[in-house]
């Protein structure tokens, strides 16, 4: 009799007497399984290809910059920088595409396939679930933004004409600016991406919503900016630029001159308020969507 006909064989049962973790272990396990899913681990090559390709693209500028610096290290010309540490934070649209691809993939199937009923039959609450997903995606975004910056830093340090120590001394501030700016960027993208994904059970809808919110807000801000007589304050509706304003505050202490918001007195405060509002609303939405398990 084949198994497909529904045969159940009795091969005995062994009780489990080993260690058991509590809620923290369950959260850690959920973070781990989310990371595996996001990176396509234990999944088909098609599900591995896109996330790894997008993340690989993010690293290209760092590698090219270090390569050029190495090749021109003995040249009397000034060293060529194709990317700065500040410019590298939020530089690549690959990260946006990564969020639009992965955030829906780690949330929507759980709801669509009703897997949540099995997850919440474990010692996990709805907020545990939401925060584990946020931690996993935020952690991935941080790692894949931070590691290329470190490659850039260490590479530049090693090929620096004045010696590694000189480079380290001259760029010491980067060692705190980069992780802080990258963490704020990761928190922004992860919370927004997951919040929008939590509103639907369809991945394609969630992905389109994420890109739509970012790109439409950017386009509307650009149109308003072009219109005569509009205040630079309209720039705060540009959701795509919000983490870049915050990045500039971390690196420069003010918003960069390439943004119109820099022209406005108090623009920095408006940017911080808008950033906090987007992250706050996103987190509240995410927690609200999974509140039912604790109702």
């Amino acid at each position: 009799m084949s198994a497909a006909t529904g045969t159940v064989y009795d091969r005995g049962y062994r009780p489990y007497d080993g260690p058991r973790g509590g809620r923290k272990a369950a959260i850690a396990a959920l973070v781990k399984s989310t990371l595996r899913r996001a990176l396509g681990i234990r999944r088909s090559w098609r599900q591995k290809f896109l996330p790894w390709m997008l993340l690989g693209i993010v690293a290209i500028p760092a590698l090219v910059n270090v390569g050029i610096a190495y090749v021109t290290r003995d040249s009397p010309l000034d060293s060529i920088e194709i990317v700065t540490y500040r410019g590298y934070v939020g530089h690549s649209s690959s990260l946006l595409l990564f969020v639009a691809l992965v955030a829906p993939d780690v949330l929507c199937p759980d709801r669509r396939q009703r897997f949540l009923s099995l997850i919440f039959a474990r010692p996990l609450s709805g907020s545990d679930y939401a925060l584990a997903k946020l931690g996993a995606i935020g952690g991935l975004l941080f790692a894949f933004s931070f590691v290329p910056q470190m490659v850039l830093f260490i590479g530049q340090m090693l090929v620096n004409r004045g010696g590694a120590l000189d480079y380290l001394t001259e760029h010491a501030a980067v060692l705190w600016q980069v992780p802080v700016a990258v963490a704020l960027l990761a928190l922004f993208y992860a919370s927004l991406g997951l919040a929008l994904s939590s509103l639907t059970s369809r991945r394609i809808v969630a992905g389109a919503s994420i890109l739509g919110v970012l790109l439409v807000s950017s386009s509307v801000a650009a149109i308003l900016s072009e219109a005569a007589g509009t205040s630079p304050a309209t720039e705060v509706i540009n959701v795509l630029a919000l983490p870049l304003y915050i990045r500039d505050l971390v690196f420069l202490g003010h918003i960069g001159d390439n943004f119109r918001l820099a022209e406005l007195a108090g623009g920095e405060g408006m940017a911080v308020v808008a950033y906090v509002a987007v992250v706050g609303v996103s987190l509240a939405t995410l927690l609200w969507r999974y509140r039912w398990s604790e109702a």
């Binding site: 529904g6 396939q113 009703r114 997850i119």
Partner: protein, 310 residues
Amino acid sequence: MRRVAGPLLRAVGLTKRFGGVTALDGLTMDVPHGRIGLVGANGAGKTTFFRLLLGLTRPTQGSVEVAGVEVSSDPARARSRLGYMPEHDCLPTDQSATDVVATLGELAGLPASAARQRASEVLDLVGLDESRFRPIEGYSTGMRQRTKLAQALVADPDLLLLDEPTAGLDPLGRESMLDLVSRLGGFGISVLLATHLLDDVQQVCDHVVMLDGGRLVVSGTTDELLERTGVVVVEVDHRVDALVAGLARRALAATVTPDGAVEVAASGDGDLDVIRDVVAELNLPLHRLSTRVGTLDEVFVRRAGVAEVT
């Protein structure tokens, strides 16, 4: 058996209302360890009771305990003692049974290596062979049901909540599933089997809880509920009409069933002696003389006062 003292489940005035709808109405009962059937028609409150046990919803009034743990005050601890197999599809179809069961084992708090080991063992137990390594999207209904049972078992729970575990299974699969469920008690795991198939409960469970419209109809052992009906079934080879006539002469009412047996309204050992004597006087070969035991369907219809269980 890893049992805590006291009842497995204790509900005290357990009530759950959703707006104007009362899903459970003042449920008070103690349920012992073992294999327990939770039966009732659709809408009787079975799923709501499961959700209350899992701490996924809070009671409007009253309380419920699982193995001494008050669910509302510590739902995570209560859940750590439970394994849950829902009725509906709930498996991620792009993953293998091995990965799903191991992941859910880790989410229940098992270390990663132990979770994978346990996943392998319970998938063996439920009879999922090499197909466990294939994506679930290619599984039959029976294989999916067995995967759902395996994930409920992976963390070695004290109590399994099984919601219609035989739904969608063919007769062989159903028998196998019920056989496995009936043996879980021997592994030290209690089972709460929610179903509207009273035959499943009668076959497997040693305690029955009947719900109707959110109210407790009856809670008792299966043997108690399958009370004697006062009807004796007699099977002989031939001359059935002569037997009926002979019994009538001795003041015992008898009828012939469609399958040729004779049912006699009897009360007490004296009537049984009379039946034996009539059979002997007529020199009939006696094949069966037994008291007819009722079915849970009859008990439910009688106690709940409903015409049929859907």
